[in-house]
């Protein structure tokens, strides 16, 4: 394994080409661990750059945690893992003030959330109270304890994994909580060949160790600044709102997406455009991301469930039936 040298980035805001270049390297690193899943890797990086949080939903053992850890390691960020269990307390997540005998003051002991990348494993096994502590911190980027406010790290991203809600011993995330995640992806079982390859390479030891940081968190923070400069034309904003609005009127859905969904969709589209080397968003960016960004926020009607429709299918249908803006 050759030694990867961190990119010598200038302190200035990087160009979009530089961002795309770094993202490609990060993706290469992660691909060493997660084989045959380039789309999921791409989404994970995209959400990081869009300053959002990612929800990975799938059965245990398909590499959810490995993806999060590989991402953190390749950007040279610190990563903390919180295993959510039914007896986990909110203060375990956010931190707690303890009395320091030596200087007779209360001292804040930060919880698991103080890291660049926080892996919330099996978030739906924790009690709703603990879940909401995490999610509030996610939304605000800060933690309040004993009248003091503590800023979280930047970049900050929560990668929560969730077992499918049909499984035993789970508290399904309420709609309001799911809404705070920018995107939801499923890992899916690896292709047969990829799984074989995994067994072969695992024999050589822990593969996460082979990941070298190819950038650092400072660069990622500046990259997010660069991405904010990507232009979203008024027609694109209009298109995003139309799409989201159509989820609210769709006959297959009993709950549509929120205005926050519009915001998330726009921010994600910006990154998508930037990674494609454009400094402006095109409708196809929005179209590609809409199922990922919207599907976990909507609720199917009973009829739609009976018809065995999935959220993704319904959202994809809405995208297909909404007129794409063809004029600026």
């Amino acid at each position: 394994m050759e030694k990867e040298t961190p990119v010598q980035e200038a302190a200035a805001t990087p160009s979009l080409a530089e961002v795309a270049d770094v993202v490609n390297r990060v993706a290469e690193q992660i691909a060493k661990v997660i084989e045959g899943k380039p789309a999921q890797i791409h989404t994970a990086i995209l959400v990081l750059l869009a300053e959002g949080h990612l929800l990975i939903e799938d059965v245990p053992g398909v590499g959810k945690t490995a993806l999060a850890k590989a991402l953190a390691r390749s950007i040279d960020g610190d990563v903390k893992r919180i295993q959510f269990t039914p007896d986990l307390l909110p203060s375990d997540v956010t931190g707690v003030s303890v009395f320091n005998q030596s200087n007779r003051e209360f001292e804040f002991k930060p919880g698991g959330i103080f890291a660049n990348i926080v892996v919330g494993d099996e978030i739906n096994r924790a009690s709703p109270k603990t879940q909401s502590a995490l999610l509030e911190a996610m939304a605000e980027g800060q933690v309040s304890a004993d009248g003091k406010t503590y800023q979280l790290r930047r970049p900050f991203m929560v990668v929560a994994t969730q077992n499918p809600i049909e499984m035993e011993g789970t508290y399904p995330l309420p709609e309001a909580q799911r809404d705070r995640f920018m995107a939801r992806i499923e890992m899916g079982y690896p292709a047969r060949r990829a799984e074989v390859a995994m067994l072969t390479s695992q024999a050589g030891g822990e593969r996460l160790d082979s990941i070298r940081p190819v950038t650092d968190v400072g660069f990622i923070a500046r990259a997010t600044e660069a991405i904010r400069q990507v232009y979203v034309a008024p027609v694109i904003n209009d298109y995003i709102v139309t799409l989201v609005d159509n989820t609210r009127t769709s006959p297959d859905l009993r709950l549509g997406a929120s205005p926050r969904a519009s915001l998330h969709l726009m921010r994600a589209s910006r990154v998508e455009a930037a990674l494609a080397g454009r400094d402006y968003v095109i409708p196809e960016d929005v179209q590609r991301l809409a199922p990922m960004v919207l599907a976990h926020r909507v609720l199917l009607t009973v009829d739609a469930q009976v018809a065995r429709l999935t959220n993704e299918q319904v959202v994809a249908g809405i995208v297909a039936n909404t007129t794409r803006p063809s004029r600026g």
Partner: protein, 725 residues
Amino acid sequence: MRFTHSPLNSLVISVTAFLSALTLQPMLVDGAYLTWVGLVVATSGVVGALGAVARAPRMLTILLQLAAMLVLLVWNGLDRAATITGGTDTGPVGALVALARSGSTTVREGALPLPSETGLLWLIAAILALVTITLELLVNGLEQPAWAMAPLSVLYGIGALALPGEMSWRHFALVAVGYVAILLATTGFGSGRRAGTRAQVGQFQASRVVVGVALAVVAALLALLLTPSVPMGPKQPWLEAGQDAPIQLSDPTIELNQNLNRPQETEVLTYRTGTGEPTYLRTVALTRLTTSGAQLVPMQLETGGLGEISAPGTEIEIEVEMDFGSEYLPVPFAVESFQADGRWAHDPNTRAVVATGDDRLNQTVGLGYRARAVAPTPSLEEVSVAAAGADPAGNETLRVPEGIDPAVTTLTQEVVAGAADDGAKALAIQSYLRSEQFQYTLTAPQSTSLDTISEFLLNTNAGYCIHFASGMVTMARISGIPARMAVGFTPGEANEDGSFTVTTHNMHTWPELYFEGLGWVPFEPTKSVASPPEYTNPDVASTAEPSASPSPSPSPTSGETDLPEVTPTPTTQDGRGDDAEEPTSLAGLWIALGVALVAALPFLLRTGQRFWRLRAGQEPSEAAEAVWDEVRATFIDLGIEWDDHTPTLAAAGMTKDMPLSSAPVLADIASTVERARFSRHGADVSTLAEQVRTLRKDLVAVQPGGSHARAMFLPASLLRTRSGT
């Protein structure tokens, strides 16, 4: 302003077309034409709205609208033609040609307001169909609702040019309201906003100017093409410029002398008046007087309505059967309207009605016509206190002949010495000429000088009507009263059935004098021909029969007489001559032209569309969209598969199967268009049009010939909805 396409557009267009049709109302006697116009434009509106609702391609919708209106026009036209051709089978094309010809004949030969003749009604409906489809093309086809004013103003212009009077402001208001409605409907009722910054202002404005000039040229051409087929008044400036051959009017006084001296009487006409009373019939009035006689002055002929008589008088209705050839229509003075076959024009100053047809000298032969006139019938009192008026036509009628013997002036002053008012002076002059001192003779005395009038008044005191008339005209002018010489016929002889027969021997001239408030008033100084008009004769009580002493005919004398000295020269007259060939022989050519035009229509539409899309000076965002539409249309025309995605993605997919030279051009175009659409700063679109032309050339070059021809003449893109709508 951003164009919006909605079902409302076509409906508003058809309402506007109907409103503009209302501006034709003053030219027609009634509103019968509105029914069919309404039906035709409503059809277009409904088809257009349905097309928009069904999201059919716009060009297809416009073609459907055209087809629907054509079907309606042909069906209705054949129906109407049956009444014109009288059942003879001329085939559908022949029937429609006959119908159109009948309509245009009505327009050319009728006087305003035009009757509701069936061919004319059909023609108007056809014109409105044309206007409607032009509006559709401009508004829904080219998305240029602002230019809708052009076809609308053409319709308004017809009325404004043809009517002798001014159009009412209400008619323009109708057009304006319709125009504004189109603008509002097509721009989402004013919610439009300027998209993109206006770069290259100079180029933008220059392009506007070019388009404006081009439209002005088209409008001017249209006006030139249309005007010969509509009745035009003096407002037709280019006819005054001498482009039309002037009509040669012969001098009526030559004819007069010849006819009076003709040995046997020839019947000229018979007439019948509404009241059964006889009447003078006048052909023309001569306003120029020289010492040797009266002459015509050049007339400005009009073909519109004669207009109302403002002076008071009695209405006369007359029905005439004429056998004699004459280029003037004998009608009572002052004629208000007439219905006669053939083509006629009139001189608004003298109210002379002149034939303008092809065989104008014989236009009255065998002609039956009707006329309505208002004869001046003032009372004696009114005349005797009347003041001389100012001739509206100018001072020609006040000009005393040059070189006239000064003794005539002295004589006139003696004659009118006792009269206080101008009217009384005129009466005195008439009485003087009717006195015993003057002799009537057709054999005019040999004149020793060229000054016939002085000779008659001072020396010979003998002559016939023309001498008396010119004598009175001269003396009236000396007294400051505008005077002119009327030429025509005395009332003729009564027949048993109540009609009157006028012969060549009834030819006559008499003076007309202009008085304030009374207008032109005829006098009768020739005593042996007729008694003076009631209003001028102090001797005759009110019971006296009106100038109805028939048979003033002088006894025919043999042809030994010399021609009188009144030798007028034929005068060149300005006026409308029309030597246009009837289109009969050209029907085949027209049909072939029509077929060719229809066949070339898709090609012309497509070429025009391309030119329009690639024109310079559009706003960058508009230019980019137009260019991308054009690229798409080119692909569809050539049968290359089109990808409807956002340009760069679409181009990436399509360039795979493309000639190597074209691919980068397309990618470049796509990138520019996309940036113009979505990026913050837009894009430089200045080279886009050129790139599209290059791309098109490259693509056409590699296409097989058949596909190329199909792309040219049957462009499929006209029938495919534009992208993203």
